[in-house]
Each structure stands twice: as C-alpha cells, then as structure tokens.
C-alpha cells in the first residue's frame, strides 16, 4: 500500500497538488515541500505561535495540523500578505517596520498572521484586547511593547501607548 496521500491545497492563491506522507505536518509541508519558508517553527507543540497561518481566513497553528488536513482548503502564509516584491508592504507590515515591532523577526510572521483576522474582527482594539490577542504568540526579543504599538499604529492610533 502506498503510504502517501494526495493533498490539494491552495496556498496564497496558487493551487498545489502533492502526494505526501499522512504524518507530514502542515508547517513542514509549507516550508519544505512548497519552499514557503516565511512560516517559522519554534516549538512544534502549539505554544509559540511562530507557525501561525490562515486556513480559510482563520489563524491556525500549522505545526498542529497534518498537511492532509488542509486538503481542499485555502491557506495564506506571510508570503501572501503583500505582493511578494518586498516593495509594497501590507499596512500591518508597514506599521511593524515603523514602530520597531520586530527585532530578530523570527516570531513576526506568526504574529502577523495572528493579527490579520483579529484586526478584521476588531478594527479598533484597545491595548488590553491587543495584548490578549497576542498572548498566544511568544516573542523573546521585543517585550511586546512595540508590537502593541505597531498594532495601534496600523489602526490609525498614535504609536506610543505610554512612555
């Protein structure tokens, strides 16, 4: 019996068809099968949030899913947020750059992908809401302060919460 299963998944608007081992994690599929290495892996046990992508528009942890579970679904990774040229940034990306919302940048793709659906539902969040939305994403570099500032900036608020 062929241990491989077929997956057909649309990633950033492009349809991909692959035969993969059923145990292949979605994060590994995106990174190593499709070469979309913008999605990062920090723990592979669902805590750090670095691997967050959108599945049919909702934030999910790609390390907690098998690639085969994405069959027939629509996935967006950080590479799909902007046009890919690096010239034009998504407004949230631009705000992160402006407010120094990233240092090493390793957690950043997951943070962005968590925030996109959050901001869709909360276009004008207060600081508490932002911090709660971020509480499933670990960042070791920034102390979160400038991530919060970046989100506020993206929402049109002045970038500095206090201080």
């Amino acid at each position: 019996m062929d241990p491989h299963a077929n997956v057909e998944v649309t990633v950033n608007g492009v349809r991909h068809r692959r035969a993969v081992e059923p145990r292949l994690l979605l994060s590994d599929f995106l990174r190593h099968e499709l070469g979309l290495t913008g999605t990062h892996v920090g723990c592979e046990h669902g805590v750090c949030g670095a691997c967050t992508v959108l599945l049919d528009g909702d934030a999910v942890r790609s390390c907690l899913m098998f690639a085969v579970q994405a069959d027939g679904h629509d996935v967006t990774t950080v590479e799909g947020l902007s046009d890919g040229s690096g010239e034009t940034l998504h407004p949230l990306q631009a705000a992160f750059r402006e407010a120094h919302g990233l240092q090493c940048g390793f957690c950043t793709p997951g943070v962005l992908m968590t925030l996109v659906p959050f901001l869709r539902e909360h276009p004008d969040p207060d600081e508490r809401q932002i911090r709660e939305a971020l509480s499933g994403n670990l960042c070791r570099c920034t102390g979160y302060q400038n991530i919060v500032a970046a989100v506020r900036l993206a929402c049109g608020a002045p970038s500095s919460p206090r201080a």
Partner: protein
C-alpha cells in the same frame, strides 16, 4: 530611522538557517541520553543503519581521530591562587553520559522524519550512576564524580579581594548577613539552533550555515578540525532568530558533526534542533548560592562586602569562569565600596552546560548587593533610595578602578558615568516620594498591597579583543559595509549603516551592510558581552573615516581645492559654498579605479578601506530601574503597575533600537523573576522541557516600560557608545524582590531568592507567618 532589514523579515524573505534547501540534502537526528549520569557500555546502531532511507549512523567510535573534546573557549583570568579544572564537551558521548540530552549517536537520512524513526532502532546499554544535582551536595565527600579523573566535583575556586574587609567589619555599626539563591533559565530564543553544511567537491570549499553569534571563530575552528585552509571554509550566520548568549559556543557537537558528515557523504546535510532538544542540549544559565554580608556604618555608608558563593557550571565548563567572574565583578555595582572579599567555587553537576545568557551572571551579583542594601536600610531606618544615594560613586571618581578582574582579564574599570542624576531621574519618573508618602499609605489603608522598588546597576560591556570592518564606495555611489559580527535582531545593519553614513555624508539607506558571512569579512570574534555597537561600530567608524580621507584626497585633486574646503553631503563632494558643483561619490570611485593610466604611487585603487578597533578595556553602562507592583495576598499574583528605566549607555546612535533592546531585556528579566524556572528532579531529569511547562512571559504578563535615556559618552571609543544588549535583564530580579517585599510588608516576608512564582511566593508568605 527604520531598520533596513525589516522589509525582508516582514515578508518572509529573510533567510534563516533552517530555510536553507539544497539538492540532495540529507537530514540529521540525534540520539540523546535519557540518563543524567551513566556509564555507556555499548551503542549498537546496526539495525538503524539497515533502515530504508538511512544513509549513515555515527557513534563516538565511528569518529576515530575526529573525536576530541572542544576547545576551552575562555581561558580563566590570572587570579592568584586560582584552581580551574577545564573539562570541555565532547562531540558524542563515549564512555559516559553526563547530562540528559547529551548526544550519543547521529543519524543521517533522506528526511528528518526517517532520521527520527531510526533513533528507535539504536540500542544503548548503559549503567545508570547516581546523579549529581544539588549544588551543595556535589562537594560532599563520597559524592559520585561527574569527571572521574578529578578528585571531586570542584570545577574552579577563586578568591578576589580589595581593601581590608576584616577591618571594615570591626568598624561597622551593623553586619547584614543573609543567604541568597539565584537561579536562571533557558535563553529560549524562539528560533532553535540549526546547522547546514555543503561540501563543494569541485571548488573544494565547505559552506556552513550556522545559527551562531560567532561565525568567524567557528570558521577558523572548523578549518583546523577538518584540516582545511581557513579560506576553504565559509561560515554564514544569516538571519538568526535571537541569540541571547547560548548561540555562541565552540563548539556545539552538532556544529562539529554536521560539516564533517557533509564532507564524508559528499551531500549537503542539515540539522535543526527541536524545542525539546533545545531545553537539554542548548546551554543554559543556572543557580548560584551566595552567603553574603555587608558591613555598614550607622549612616548607611557601606564599609565592605564579603561574599562566598557556589556556582553550578553543569556537566562541562568550556566557558571557563565567565559567568561567576561576572557575578563577582558586578556585585560592587555603582557603589563606592572600599573593601570586598569574594570567593566562589564552581561545581560540576549532571546538568546541561552553563554558559552566559543575557546578563551572564551579572544578575546574581546585582541581586546580592541590592538585597543587602534593602535589608541594611530597614535595619538602620534609612529610606531605600537614600541608602543607595549615599553610596554612589561621584562623577569626579572616574575612571574608577574596581580592582577586581573582569572576564577580559583586566580589572573592571568604570570609564565614565554620572550616577546620582540617573537615580534622581528614576525616582522622579516613578514619583517615588509621593508614592511612599501619600499613595502607598492611602492604598494600604484600603487593604491593598502595593509596593515600590528602585535598583541600580552597572554593566561592563563592549570588551575586546577587536572587530573589523571594510567600507567600499561602489561606482553606483552606493556604499558597501562588511563586518564580522553577526546579528540576532539587534539592528546592527541599521546602526552600522548610520555610523558610516554620517561619516561619508550619504543617506543611511545607501549603505548596504553585510554581517555574519566569513566570505565577506573574516576577522573578528562575535556578538557577545553587549559589544556589537561598541566594538564593531567603532571599527565601522574607523573604516569610514579612512575612506573619507581617500575621497577627500582624490576630490581635492579633481576639484583643485584644499581638502579642508571640501564638504561631503548627499552622496557628493563639493567645495564649500558651491553645493551645486562638485562630484558624486560614485564618479570618484570610478576615477579611483581607472582602466587605463596609472594609479599614483603610494595610493591604492578604489575608495575602500578596512579598519579595526580594539578597546583597551570595556566601557561601563549603568542604569536605574524602578517599579510599582500590587500583590494579591490570596493568590500571590503580582501585577506590575508601572516600570521605569533610566539608563545610560553612552552615546545613543539609534534610540528606537536601544529602547527595543531594553524592552526585551526587561521582559526577559521579568520571565526570570516570576515565570521561568528549569526544574530538575533528584535524578537530574528536567521536568519542564517544553513551552507548555516552562513559561515564557506573554504579552499579558509584560508591562509597558517607560524609558529615559541619559548619555555619558564613553571616552574609550570614537562613537562614545556603551553596550545595551543585556542591560534590561540585569536588575529585574532584584527589583522584583524589593517591590514585592514592600507590597507584602505587613506579612514580614523576606525575599532572598529568584525565581519566584505565585506558588513560591505563597509558600514564603506562609513561612513568614
């Protein structure tokens, strides 16, 4: 000033080591010890070798001559009477395993999944030995020895002294004496370690991508180990997802084995650590136990300090004495302490190796002195801020020689500083007087447990030996800057570009920076001890100044004007008063590298220069942190109401980046103080090796930090900078203890340990009843 690296990072186009993909690449998994301490009797990999998809399996026996212990990374400073037993880590355990997670065998397979499958096929026979876990018990007679060729588990013993403590003690009004425990945790960079290697048979060249903070020493060391010319090895530390100290080791076993396997097998090989491995195999910082006393006069003047401490160095000690020496040196802080006697004993245990983690032992020293001052203040009836003020060094005392040898083997000398205004600024920012006089009594009367803390520290930063940089003006007018230090998020690209841009009169966006690639620049040491901006920044400055001289020389001939009359601005050189005229830098670069004609004798072609900077000694940053907390005495939950940082890291090149470093450091410090603890059981098993059980502070745990910059430029480098990378994390534990204790003043609880947790704090309150 935006960071030039951000667009790539934000769009997912930045290259991290695990992103490296090459044709025919093989993948590695390591079999790691389940025991903390055991004799290995056999490792049988034959079944694993036969598994489909497995290309090779290596044990210590397969390494032959290549098996050898790692180098001693930091030789100990020349302290009289020093005892030091170097025992460095090995690539794969041979006769004995000395901590859980020590690598025993390496599987190379067509995929990581297959490599991990094969780990189950390896049969290890081991005789478990009693594990050495407890620091104090480790030295008791009859305890099993981690390294059997040594008479005991003593790794090092050192005494440093200044002044006459015995006399100070005899003269003192009071002696404040306590025992302190300070434990630290995992560095927990969100990116785990990774190494990828490719041996190009035709070019006879080895390329290694490594999540290291020190690509150049890794290159040089690998060349030596593998019998290659240094120029045949290229080490690239591309984007690195956070370093914090442990990403600089010489060598991690994986760094030695992956390139070796790639050469042997003639195929690219990659290994990426998973989070669980990171908890066992990436170095950590851990506990010290201090028995300390403070001799103090009636008015709060400190006459002397005596401190005797134990330091856990883990199973091996490749970093020499760096961490305990930092603790020893940093204890004296910003205070004028005339006598000091400090003795430490470093101890081998069956736990993961201890090396510097952000702050690197400085926390421990700061905790001891700051807590002693708090207890002295209480006993003498002096305000906590006031007792600090009375002991601060005065501006006219700089440069101030502390007499105690630092990690760079020179006495820690404070280059410059102005400490009292920093204290005042922090007290003002947190509104200390009003809080203590009005707000706290009012809230206490209402039954609320609020407390305030204020803590001072100094940090020796920016030590040598040196860094270098090369600056080139290209014919396009763009400037290329190459330097040896890598970057792990500190914004070096941007800071270095700013330094060069300022000297050459170009826009910082025109300066293209390459760091962390030994092909581009191969002299230097690495990113540690908060030295990037200071040492490499100064080298960038020197190289830019040299290029500027070449530009002026050539332009003065081309424009027939004296160099003194020339102005570099907007990417052009023009004669003063004629901003419309002159020449573009790019045009000059072309003229400096002619295709025909001759280059003038005594000059070099091109507008390029390489320069180095090596400070005589480190520069000393300082700061004051203050915070207000509220504690719920029922749940022992601590809420940080305000957090204020006043810091002085000399000249600030980019305030946004400096503040970011502080925010991150404070968050790391808060994690250390209240959330993070590596819990080992008596068998040496780490009980919480996942992010589920080892808690990193999240966005709801970390407060906004209110930062004030003060600038006392360092006289030791042309930029005037001092390091900042670790500062945020250093005083946090001491501050946390002070503020929480103040909040719980009615319970009489005394906090003499870090980390706390709600559970531990609750226990301490119970004990105090």
């Amino acid at each position: 000033m935006r960071r030039s690296e951000d667009a790539r990072l934000l769009t997912g186009r930045a290259l991290f080591v695990d992103d490296v993909r090459l044709d025919g690449m093989l993948h590695v998994a390591f079999l790691r010890s389940q025991h903390a301490h055991a004799r290995l009797t056999s490792v049988d990999a034959s079944a694993a070798r036969g598994r489909p998809g497995v290309v090779a399996v290596y044990t210590a026996a397969d390494l032959g001559d290549y098996w050898r212990p790692g180098p001693l990374l930091v030789p100990p400073p020349p302290i009289a009477g020093l005892v030091f037993n170097p025992c460095t880590q090995v690539p794969l355990a041979k006769d004995k395993v000395r901590h859980v997670g020590e690598a025993v065998a390496m599987v190379v397979a067509e995929s990581r999944y297959l490599a991990e499958d094969a780990l189950d096929d390896i049969v290890v026979e081991a005789e478990p030995l009693p594990a050495v876990v407890d620091l104090e018990a480790a030295l008791a007679p009859g305890t099993p020895r981690v390294h059997e060729h040594l008479p005991s588990n003593l790794a090092a013993h050192a005494v440093q002294r200044k002044g006459d403590y015995a006399r100070a003690k005899a003269r003192a009004h009071a002696i404040i004496k306590r025992r302190f425990r300070y434990d630290r945790g995992a560095s927990a960079a969100i990116e785990n370690r990774a190494v990828a290697a490719h041996w190009d048979q035709r070019a006879e060249e080895l390329t290694v991508w490594d999540t290291t903070q020190a690509p150049i020493p890794i290159r040089n060391g690998l060349a030596q180990l593998l019998g290659l010319l240094e120029s045949q090895v290229r080490v690239v530390a591309p984007y690195v997802g956070g370093g914090f100290g442990p990403k600089i080791m010489m060598f991690y076993p994986e760094e030695v084995l992956v390139p070796w396997a790639a050469m042997r097998l003639g195929r690219p090989v990659k290994w990426t650590e998973d989070r669980q491995e990171n908890f066992f195999a990436t170095t950590q910082e851990r506990g010290q136990i201090h028995d300390a006393e403070l001799a103090v006069a009636k008015d709060g003047t400190v006459l002397g300090v005596k401190d005797v401490f134990l330091h856990d160095t883990g199973a091996y000690d490749p970093y020499g004495l760096t961490v305990p020496i930092n603790s020893q040196c940093t204890l004296l802080g910003p205070y004028d302490i005339p006598s000091y006697e400090s003795e430490f004993t470093a101890v081998f245990t069956n736990k993961t190796i201890v090396t510097p983690v952000r702050g690197a032992g400085r926390q421990h020293g700061v905790f001891v002195i700051e807590r002693l001052l708090d207890f002295a203040a209480r006993e003498l009836g002096i305000d906590r801020a006031e007792i600090r003020r009375r002991n601060l060094l005065r501006p006219d005392q700089f440069p101030f020689n502390n007499d105690i040898l630092f990690q760079d083997s020179a006495p820690l000398t404070y280059d410059s500083g102005d400490y009292e205004p920093a204290l005042d600024a922090a007290l003002k920012a947190i509104d200390y007087g009003r809080f203590v006089r009005e707000e706290q009594p009012r809230l206490r009367a209402a039954g609320r447990h609020v407390g305030i803390g204020v803590v001072c520290y100094v940090e020796g930063t920016g030590i040598g030996p040196y860094e270098g940089a090369r600056v080139t003006v290209e014919p396009s007018g763009r400037v290329r800057l190459a330097t040896g230090v890598g970057t792990q998020g500190q914004g070096h690209f941007t800071v270095f570009a700013q330094i060069v841009a300022e000297v050459l009169g170009v826009d910082a966006g025109e300066v293209h920076v390459v760091t962390g690639d030994t092909r581009e620049f191969h002299w230097g040491t690495g990113t540690f001890a908060s030295r990037g901006a200071v040492v490499a920044g100064s080298a960038c400055h020197a190289a830019a100044v040299a290029v500027r001289a070449k530009v002026l020389d050539l332009a003065s001939r081309e424009l027939e004007a004296a160099a003194a009359d020339l102005v570099l601005d907007g990417g052009r050189v023009h004669v003063r008063g004629d901003p419309g005229g002159g020449l573009a830098l790019g045009a000059l670069a072309l003229k400096a590298n002619p295709l025909r004609g001759a280059v003038r004798p005594g000059t070099e072609p091109g507008l390029e220069a390489t320069a180095y900077f090596g400070p005589d000694r480190g520069s000393t940053a300082n700061g004051v942190h203050a915070m207000v907390v509220e504690v719920d005495p029922e749940t022992a939950q601590v809420e940080i109401k305000r957090y204020v940082v006043v810091h002085d890291c000399g000249r600030v090149i980019n305030p946004m980046i400096v503040e970011g470093q502080i925010h991150g450091g404070v968050a790391h410090g808060i994690g250390n103080a209240f959330y993070e603890q590596l819990v080992y059981d008596e068998e040496g098993q780490l009980l919480n090796a996942s992010f589920m059980d080892y808690l990193l502070p999240t966005a709801t745990d970390v407060p906004n930090v209110e930062t004030t910059h003060r600038e006392t430029p360092s006289p030791l480098n042309p930029v005037g900078a001092k390091g900042v990378g670790e500062a945020g994390a250093i005083p946090t534990g001491a501050l946390f203890a002070q503020a929480v204790e103040d909040a719980l003043a009615d319970t009489g609880v005394e906090i003499r340990e870090i980390p706390l947790s709600p559970n531990r704090l609750f226990e301490l309150m119970q004990e105090a009843r």
